[in-house]
């Protein structure tokens, strides 16, 4: 039994390692893509313009990143608020007919609970 548990633990650690490694590689790839893209944009602007308008350039780059991010952050926030409002009502309604109803174990707003 102990051996089985050890094996299970080893496999769990391996799957966590693979999962985290995948996330890290993904984050690095995204950061490198964005960083390289910004560098290329800046380099070409410097080539095109003798005296680059640095303030406008900076605002344009930040705006490029911030504008869609702001919209999407608002979208996710709206989904979370909607979930927080509706999920407990639905759960309560279902619990009246089914007291043994199991839950997905997420937070009321649909986000993950922290893993202790």
């Amino acid at each position: 039994m102990a051996e089985e548990s050890d094996t299970d633990n080893d496999l769990t650690i391996r799957i966590v390692t693979v999962s985290e490694r995948h996330k890290t590689a993904r984050t690095v790839a995204i950061c490198l893509t964005i960083g390289f893209g910004i560098a290329v944009v800046c380099t070409t602007i410097v080539r095109l313009v003798d005296k680059p308008p640095w303030l406008e350039l900076l605002l344009a780059i930040i705006g490029l990143a911030a504008a869609p991010s702001g919209v999407l952050a608002l979208l996710i926030r709206a989904i979370r608020r909607y979930t927080k409002r509706t999920a407990p009502l639905l759960a309560e309604a279902q619990r009246r007919d089914d007291s043994a109803r199991s839950s997905s174990n997420l937070r009321p707003d649909g986000t993950d609970k922290p893993i202790a």
Binding site: T12, V16, C31, I34, V40, V41, S102
Partner: protein, 172 residues
């Protein structure tokens, strides 16, 4: 050439930011779809008076695990799991009722779409498989089986809060 470089740079920045957001949003979309499948199954079972049927309980538990495990799932995770050769979890109970069997098939299919069409790594794996001549339906079936098996395996228990389930508790 300089303008082309400028366009490439803008494209890379845009793609990077869009993908960074997409990997968050796709989890929400997947979970919403699984919630719809789970709640649809619950209503069907209630109307049929079979809420306490073991097939429904097991299918619901499996769907809950799939919802919980979704952010951890990637093609690398399921390939790693497939390499262990420790056997599949038991799906038999879920197949006892036609409604639960259909719901689990829908969930597995949605999981496969999440892996193969909604991530770059999964899509690259899928395209590479197609280039090697792997048959498409068989490939998707295989991913469906592996993805569900990885999510429902005892080793996936790390996706659960320890306080609730205990460090050695089974995920399902």
């Amino acid at each position: 050439m300089t303008v082309l470089l400028f366009a490439i740079g803008c494209f890379m920045v845009g793609c990077g930011i869009a993908y960074a957001w997409w990997i968050r949003i796709r989890v929400w979309l997947l979970r919403q779809d699984l919630f719809v499948i789970r709640d649809g199954l619950w209503y069907a079972m209630r109307d049929a008076g079979k809420l306490d049927h073991p097939a429904h309980r097991k299918a619901r538990q499996n769907l809950n695990v799939m919802i919980r495990f979704a952010p951890r799932l990637s093609i690398r995770v399921i390939n790693e799991f497939a390499s262990w050769k420790i056997g599949d979890p038991v799906f038999d109970k879920c197949e006892d009722l036609p409604e639960t069997a259909v719901a689990m098939r829908q969930a597995n299919h949605r999981y496969a779409r999440y892996i193969l069409r909604e991530t770059l790594s999964g899509f690259a794996w899928f395209v590479a498989g197609r280039a090697e001549g792997t048959n498409k339906p068989e490939q998707v079936d295989e991913v469906e089986r592996r993805a569900a098996a990885a999510a429902l395996s005892p080793q996936a228990r790390f996706a659960y809060p320890r306080k609730r389930h205990g460090p050695m508790a089974m995920a399902h």
